[in-house]
Structure formats: structure tokens, C-alpha cells
Amino acid sequence: MPTLPARFKLAYENFALDVDLQLPSTGVTVLFGPSGSGKTTLLRCIAGLEKAPIGYFEIKGQCWQDSTKKHFIPTYQRNLGYVFQEANLFPHLSVMGNLQFGVKRQTCSTVNSSNFQEIIDLLGIEHLLNRKPDRLSGGEKQRVVIARALLLKPDLLLMDEPLAALDQQRKQEILPFLIRLHQHLSIPVIYVTHSQAEVAQLADTLVVMQAGKVVAHGNLTDTFNRIDLPFAQDKGASSVWQGTLSSHETNYHLSCVAINDNTLSLPLITAPIGTKLRIQIYARDVSITLSAPTDTSILNILPAVIKEIKADNTGQCTVRLQVDHQSLLAHITQKSAHLLNLKAELMVYVQIKGTSLLG
């Protein structure tokens, strides 16, 4: 699979960015890290809004920046879409005027009316087209902004914390649209966030940044479950599995989701059999037994192998297990770990008390 090489070095007074990445050319790559870690700066460098003195970026055989050759294509000539944290609609134009702003200026106009309708439907903004931006809610504005970027048929979509400025309710309103987008888009998306929930719901690839450097980079499940990273110890730590809806048990209001060779029972999902699903399992909902429990109320019991154990100073333990080829985190007490004599490579069973569906 071709990758997008991204190398940037840039120094400000109290901050330096130094990254050398190969970004995937499909799916959502999330840049994750605390504020000040350089994720937005990296995004701005890719867009050309920031001109890194040393930088290289290439997409689809087109070089956007190569500082060794003093080559730099200005932002307005790059075929990208950019969604800012604050919805940046032009206040003097209607929603329709905003949507057409970029399309009208494209050198080779590729937008046809069916594509326009598809994007309008995808983001549910048909009824807003004639309004002025000041008559929209925060969530509606952000949806229009996303549509405005998508209409350009960009080679790359860059999103800088598109949900951060919204309250919890609005976030919940927009996330389903982003998830739908994720399923529909074939272009690479680079998404900046500091929210673990958004990582779990949207990421295919995860890049963890700290102080201007990349500290971890890999596919979501592996990187998310790396015990040396702050995610694993967090109270809300979780594992994300991809599965396929395989059958329903309607009389029990349950659905079965196949994950490789294993099957999980989940509360009834109203979707056709065969739908790809993303399931989040919180580490606090996973318990460990040495033998296969037979008389338990918990439905989801899977064989697993312990890979790593890390104790913290609050009496808690983070255990990384492998279930088939998937990795899984469990938070248990240090006392339990001691009593069961848990250690790496031990074969155990995990009981999963609850799961949540991420769409």
C-alpha cells in the first residue's frame, strides 16, 4: 500500500516539531496528544498553512513540499480539504454560497450534481442551504464546514479537532455523521484530537505525539493497548475490536458479532447481518479467571493469553492479553493478580461484562 511520507522540522521559541512519518493512504489517521504536543502544527504543515523550514510531503505522486529543492506549493493550490476547530463559515455568504466558494475556484471542476446531493444527504444539511451562518447551531455549522471541504473532492481531508468547540450534546449529534463519513470516504483523513472517545470511534491508525515528537505510531488496537502509553492506565481505558454482525437472538434481544473465530453477544443491534461493526470493551469490564467458568451469568467468555502486566501505585493492575489475534486490556486489583499468580504467557479466560457498540 502506498504511504504518504511526511517529514517536518520546525522550531519556535519554546516549541519544536520534529516528525518523520509514513502516513497510510486510506482510512482515518488520528493524531493524538495533549495540547501543545504539536498535532495541530503538524496538520498545518501538511496543509501548507505553516511553512516548515525543513519539510517534505508527497501525495498521489505530487510533491507539496520539498525544502531541499525549495519546492513549496501554497495552500490554495493543494487539493485538500481542511476543517478547523472553530467552524469557519464566511458570515457574508449563505450556506449555499459557502458550499460553492471552493467549488467555484477549483481549476478542474469535478463536482457534479449527484455528488453534491450525496454529500448534502450524508451530512443532513439540505434544509439549511438558504440560511446565513449566524442562524445555525454550532453542530450545524461544523457539518456545513465538513460538506464544504468534501465538495472539493480533495485528495486528503485534514480535520483539526472538529468537535472540540462543541458541547457534549452537539458532539453526540455530529459523531454519527463522522462515522458515516468514515465508512463512505475512500480518501485518507488526518484527524487531530485529544479525546480518547474520538480515537476509539474513528481511528484506523493512531499517531501519538508528545512535545513535538511522535512517541507511538501504528494501527489503532495495537497502539491503543500499548501498556507503556498513557491510554492503558487511564480509568476509561478500552480496547477496540472490529467485527461482523453474524446472527440475532431476537427472543433474548441479543445479537452475535463474529470477531475472527470468537463470537460476542451484544444487546440487539438493528442492522443487517454482515454489517461491519466496531466494538469497544472497557478494561474495567474485563475480569480474568484461570479455568473456564461454567456457572456465571456473564455471556462473553473467551480464552486468552496474558502478554504483559503493569502495576500502578493505586493498587490497580493493567493486564494486556491476547484473544486470537486481537489484544485486550483488563484492569484488575493487584491483590487479584497476586492471588491468581498471574504472569506473562499464562493461559487464562476473560469474562467481558459489558461492551459498547461504536457504530
Binding site: T75, Y76, Y82, N88, F101, R105
Partner: protein
Amino acid sequence: MLSPADLDTLWLTFKVASLSTFLLLLIGTPIAWWLARTQSPAKGFINALVSLPLVLPPTVLGFYLLILMGPNGALGKLTNALDLGALSFTFTGLVIASVLYSIPFVVQPLQSAFNSIAQQTLEAAATLRASPLNTFLSVVLPLSKSGFLTAGILGFTHTVGEFGVVLMIGGNIPDKTRVVSVQIYNHVEALEYTQAHWLAGCLLAFSFSVLLVLYTVLKTPPQVQQLK
């Protein structure tokens, strides 16, 4: 009633003010844009220079311009060499002086209009394929409409009201440099108070109605600090 000579001065004043306002908007826009966006250390210096006419007595500005544009001044020598003659006591000289005299009244409202446009709005335009010039024309201009209106009105009215500078560099030449404010002075000197009343009344009515429009029609009227 207004005499034909008075009407001539009104017409001349209108010509000077219109032409000056046009030139001021032309020159003032790039200066204001630069001042609003630059991080150059020269910003303070240029800001001070542009604002100078706010505090400088018009006679001082007029005096320096008289020297500069006179036959022995740098500008005068240049225009002489170009066979244009000295600019002092001419209509052109009067327009140049008016532009310099009114420049802060145009630059400051524009600058504050430009300042209120977020950098991110411009960046958004760039990510939507708009070149910097295109962004200026299709985003900055429409968003600064009231700033331009304020700048134009203030530039025009301020030029109409100038007196000291005109006296210093333009003198009192009918149809060339005799503007309304000078004509009122002439009438008073000649004790023609009725004539002076007519002209003064015209200016008073004009200035007040313009400001009335500015403060009632515009959503964001100019602030005092912006004017002075």
C-alpha cells in the same frame, strides 16, 4: 443667497474632496492591510507616521508641504524637471496636501475593520482554493464594507473641513484653490456676514447629516478613539 463665486468654491471643494477620497481609499487600503497583518518592527513607526496629521497643527503640515513643493523643495525641483512646474498654489498640490492631511481618517477605520477579520477566516479561504488576492477581494472586502463606508465618509468630510493646510499651500486662488472654508474666511474678513452665514450653514448641514447617516445607518459607528 449663494453668489456664483460661492457656488464655484462649493464645486471646487466637492472636486478636491472626491478626488482626495478616491486616492485615499486607493492608498489607504494597502497601508491599512499591511498595518493590520504585519508583525514587522516598522509597524509602530508607520502607525505613528500615518497618525501624525491627527495631532499636528494643519499649519505645520502645510508649512512643510509648502517648502517641499515650492520651486526650491525636493518635490518642486522634481516637478520642475518634469516640466510640470511647482505644485504649491495649484489644484494638484491641494489634492496632495488633502490626501496627507486626511490619511489617518481613512487608514484607521480600515485598519480596525481588517483587524476584526480572523486569521483563520483567511486560512479557510486558502484551503478553499482562493489565492491571497482572491481572498482579499471576495472575503476581506465584503466583510469590511462598513469600514470602507466609514473611511470614505470620514475622509471626504475631513477634507471638506480643511482650512489651515489650504491657506498655507494653496492660498486663495479662485477656481484653483479657493475652497469653502477659505471663502467663509474671506466673507468674514470683508464683513459679509450674510454670505458667510449661507456657506457656513451649508457646511454645518452637510457635516451633520453625514454624521447622522454614519451613526444611524451603520451598525458599528466609528468610535471616538478611532476618529482622534
